[in-house]
């Protein structure tokens, strides 16, 4: 390949899209490394502390789009204290200094300050796309800056962020000349919205394809918006409260009928339980439906709606749909690929779905490859059946609301059921376990889950063996997160080199001790081993006491950037 001019190689590399493939390409030889590096436009950094922004900017001089992930996954469930880290500001600042031509920024679980948003909006004249998922630290003032100064903004997508709402008029900060919007999602905002500004914005955005409204947008505004934007592909309804006999409702029905392109429907953040029938007309076109933010919809309404959704590929729903409702889904949605059933009331012991719903789905939806299922109970028999019916799972996440509940029928651990899943699903990349589980399930996972990349464990296992089976067997493991399981130093230290092949390991409320963590950190300088010491529970003493101090929360990750300098006091990097 030496005799190909660089441009040819570059052109060939253009066809190589995925990050994994491009990483592989760059390791072939120095020439390829060089060319791939300057031609790569989209960079993915799974852990923002694994590498410093200057190095990224230096290597990928053609960088236009970057995806960054910050906090560990368990931060979603309040296991990581606030102020742990994950700040985006240093990245934006470094990129601004290096004159990176940034066009797209996608962040997950990071702390985004208003200052960083302002700096972002002023530093990159071609900036087009901002996607924030599960982030926090900013207010609507930061959004106003983005609206005002990103002249070429196409996409502003806020998913499930914690935004302090100053009820400022950020929407009116979009200049009148701005007509480039393609995607706008502000469903997670809690405060009032300047409704006329919103309507005007929609009116002057002919390319708008995706619009997800917050609960501050009432029905009459929705109706007017739909009239203006019948070309929408993706609609998130904000508030859906209305009087079914009102003129507004009738107008809405008419407006919806014109929206023949809508393929994805979500929202209904405030909903009157009846009269979803207005949407029945677009249901046959839907490929994606997310009603998981709407506990106000009763199951019979849901079912009526779902009976029209023959083409559905993705469904996010609450468990009030019930097992019966899932049977309807199974018989209607033959193309279903992804299903998520969330708990509508996490504390009540009466979740409305059980193993029967899951089995029904597995029988009816042969294309299912991704599931997240919160349920009251599960049985081995059901899991075995599901595995038999759906061997194509890529993501299988089961959450039994009572974390150590055994098989509801036999009272046995659920080892066999999960064993069946990992054995049948050869492409399984992500697995979350729950229920009563012994070391046996980890033996199965180690044996069969050859493609597994991410494993979440809670309240499971009997001994170090469990974790050892996994570490030994799962060659492609990248992320392992464990809580409240009896794995200790023996497991942790069994194969320390493995952690450099992984992105990260989280262990909380396990049996690892400070001594074990220190030993690990000493042997593996390429890892940051962080101890989260809330409430001053631990003392950083040396000596034999270390082995008596159990570590409450440990997070380790491979890194080229060394110890991070922004760690708060309660985080020790060993």
């Amino acid at each position: 390949m030496n005799y190909f001019p660089d441009e040819v190689l570059e052109h060939i590399f253009d066809f190589v899209g995925s990050h994994k493939d491009r990483n592989s390409v760059s390791q072939v030889c120095k020439l390829w490394y060089r060319i791939e590096s300057y031609s790569r436009q989209k960079v993915f950094v799974g852990n923002c502390y694994a590498i410093g922004p200057e190095r990224v900017a230096e290597r990928f001089s053609g960088l236009k789009s970057i995806t960054l992930k910050g906090k560990p996954h368990f931060a979603d469930f309040n296991l990581v204290p606030p102020d742990w880290g994950g700040f985006v500001y240093p990245w934006i600042e470094a990129f601004a200094r290096s004159r990176v031509g940034l066009e797209e920024l996608r962040l997950k679980r990071m702390v985004v300050s208003d200052e960083s948003l302002e700096l972002l909006s002023r530093s990159f004249p071609n900036f087009k796309s901002l996607v924030l998922v599960s982030c926090e630290g900013f207010t609507t003032d930061g959004l106003a800056a983005v609206a005002a100064y990103c002249r070429q903004l196409k996409e502003l997508d806020l998913q499930e962020n914690d935004v302090e709402d100053h009820r400022g008029h950020w929407l009116s900060c979009f200049p009148e000349s701005s007509t480039s919007l393609v995607s706008l999602n502000f469903a997670c905002l809690k405060g009032d919205i300047n409704l006329p500004a919103l309507e005007r914005l929609v009116a002057r955005s002919p390319n708008l394809k995706s619009l997800r409204l917050s609960r501050a947008v009432p029905l009459d505004v929705l109706q007017r918006i739909l009239i203006r934007a019948p070309q929408l592909l993706d609609l998130g309804v904000g508030s859906y409260l209305h009087d079914p006999d009102s003129e507004n409702y009738n107008k809405l029905v008419t407006a919806i009928q014109k929206c023949k392109s809508v393929r994805s429907l979500s929202g209904f953040l405030d909903v009157a339980p009846h009269c979803l029938s207005a949407f029945h007309i677009i249901c046959p076109n839907l490929t994606s439906l997310n009603l998981s933010y709407a506990p106000g919809i009763y199951d019979n309404e849901l079912i009526k709606l779902l009976r029209h959704c023959h083409k559905l590929q993705r469904l996010w729903i609450l468990d009030c749909i019930g097992d019966k409702g899932l049977e309807v889904v199974a018989s209607t949605c033959k193309d279903l690929e992804e299903l998520r059933v969330f708990p509508s009331d996490p504390y009540v012991g009466q979740a409305a779905v059980t193993e029967e719903g899951l089995v029904a789905i597995s029988r009816g939806c042969q294309k299912l490859n991704s599931i997240l299922y919160f349920c009251q109970q599960m049985t081995n028999a059901a899991l075995i059946t599901v595995a038999k019916n759906c061997p194509n799972f890529v993501r299988f996440r089961l959450c039994i609301l009572d974390p150590t509940k055994p098989d509801a029928v036999t009272q046995q651990p659920l080892d066999e059921g999960f064993g069946a899943i990992v054995q049948a699903c050869k492409d399984l990349k992500r697995l979350s376990l729950s229920g009563l589980l012994t070391d046996q399930v980890f033996l199965y996972i180690g044996m069969y889950a050859e493609q597994l990349e991410m494993l979440s464990i809670a309240f499971a296992g009997d001994s170090d063996k469990g974790m050892q089976y996994v570490l030994k067997g799962c060659k492609k493991l990248r992320k392992l997160e464990i809580r409240d399981s009896p794995f200790g130093n023996a497991a942790l230290l069994m194969d320390v080199a493995k952690y450099e092949t992984m992105r990260s390991l989280w262990m909380s409320s396990c049996e690892v001790t400070l001594g074990g963590c220190k030993a690990l950190a000493k042997r593996m300088p390429g890892l940051n081993v962080e101890i989260i010491n809330e409430n001053d529970q631990m003392e950083f003493v040396g000596g034999c006491d270390d082995d008596r101090q159990k570590v409450e929360k440990m997070y380790l990750y491979r890194t080229l950037a060394g110890q991070r300098r922004d760690a708060p006091e309660f985080v020790w990097t060993l």
Partner: protein, 380 residues
């Protein structure tokens, strides 16, 4: 390796092994027998023999554990026993059914299967079975017996899945009815497979309960269930809107446990000058005027009684009746009192601005304030 075998070349692999696995035999680690500490640790060593930690070349027939590990294992189990972890006196088997994928002929290249038994061929498989038979096993509940000869050869997907459990002859527990709903590949003789063979189900439960007690927190667990915080608040913030509609629906589906079937929506209502509050059911009204009338009826008497008591309680009955005047003008600011409410965001709002349905879905509590106070507040 394993994969090749599973993809249907099962015929070439040694199906004999799986035939050889007697259907009722599965080795298990017996826990829960107080007198059998020794035996269980021996069994644990056998467990090690079979398992051979995946990928670890050091595991072999002879040298399964270092002595240290064995001791640790024993200690581990000892300490568990001493914790009363298991239900002594009941034979509760913690079943570890060892599952084979289609065994590979390439002994040694089979990374994960044990070095004993299937890989080594039939001779050592008989060794394996001898060891099995040494254990006195309680009737098993083995859910999985991974691909057997008959199924494996043909259909990849089917073969890699599950042949369902085999049944020990001792097991005679009937299946739970729930199982009936589930599609199972079974021979009729095996239909009883799922239920735990232990004749008294309680020991199994208690043993399991004990083990679960080890790890279960008594109350709500931090970070469990694993959902983001905003989902935890969804139900409560929208509960009022749920209750708004469909009051007549739930009668027909009374077995649904979901909270959607609450009737009535009671919110607190306090009135200035009246120390005791009331509760009013908003689903009983469908408009603001009706609500206003109800508020009047609720508080008229109380307000008068307050005035009476503050006046020293000297009024006679007739005077009291005269004092009991209607509370009017609650909605338009024209009366002595004005109705306000607190919404789901914590803000205080004047009643009457939004459509009734919207009001009902966002109201959290009501207050009847003196109109003079309301205008004072709005000037802040």
């Amino acid at each position: 390796m394993m994969e090749e075998c599973s993809k249907g070349s099962g015929a070439a692999c040694s199906p004999k092994l799986l035939d050889l696995i007697p259907k009722e035999m599965e080795w298990a680690v017996a826990k829960g027998e107080s007198g059998d500490v020794e035996r269980s640790s021996v069994e644990i060593r056998k467990l090690e023999l079979r398992l051979g930690l995946p990928g670890d070349d050091e595991w072999s027939l002879k040298n399964t554990n270092t002595a240290k590990n064995i001791n640790r294992e024993r200690d581990h189990h000892d300490s568990l026993f001493s914790l009363g972890y298991f239900n002594h006196g009941h034979h509760h088997n913690h079943h570890h059914h060892f599952h084979h994928h289609q065994p590979s002929h390439k002994a040694g290249s089979h990374e994960i299967s044990p070095q004993v038994g299937p890989v080594a061929g039939s001779s050592s498989s008989s060794v394996w079975f001898n060891q099995q038979q040494q254990q006195q096993l309680a009737p098993p509940s083995s859910f999985l017996q991974f691909p057997t000869t008959t199924k494996a050869a043909t259909d990849k997907q089917q073969s890699s899945c599950l042949l369902l459990p085999t049944v020990a002859k001792e097991s005679s527990q009937p299946c739970c009815t729930k199982v009936g709903a589930i599609d199972l590949q079974q021979s009729p003789a095996e239909k009883k497979a799922f239920s735990p063979p232990a004749a008294p189900p309680t020991p199994a439960n208690t043993a399991v309960a004990n083990s679960s007690q080890k790890r279960t927190a008594p109350g709500p667990v931090v970070g469990w269930p694993p959902i983001r915080s905003f989902r935890k608040n969804l139900a409560s913030s929208s509960s009022s809107s749920k209750q708004n509609g469909n009051p007549n629906k739930k009668a027909a589906t009374s077995d649904k446990p979901v909270e959607a079937c609450k009737k009535g929506m009671f919110v607190k209502i306090n009135m200035d000058g009246v120390p005791i509050g009331r509760k009013v059911d908003l689903t009983a009204y469908d408009s603001y005027p009706r609500l206003s009338t109800a508020v009047d009826e609720l508080f008229r008497g109380l307000l008068a009684a307050q005035r009476d008591s503050s006046a020293g309680g000297n009024m006679n009955k007739q005077q009291q009746e005269e004092e009991e005047k209607a509370i009017t003008g609650l909605l338009d600011g024209s009366g002595e009192y004005t109705l306000v409410y607190e919404d789901n965001e914590g803000d205080r709002m004047l009643v009457g601005d939004v459509p009734w349905h919207m009001f009902v879905s966002t109201v959290k509590r009501l207050r009847v304030l003196k109109s003079s106070e309301v205008s004072a507040l709005s000037r802040e």
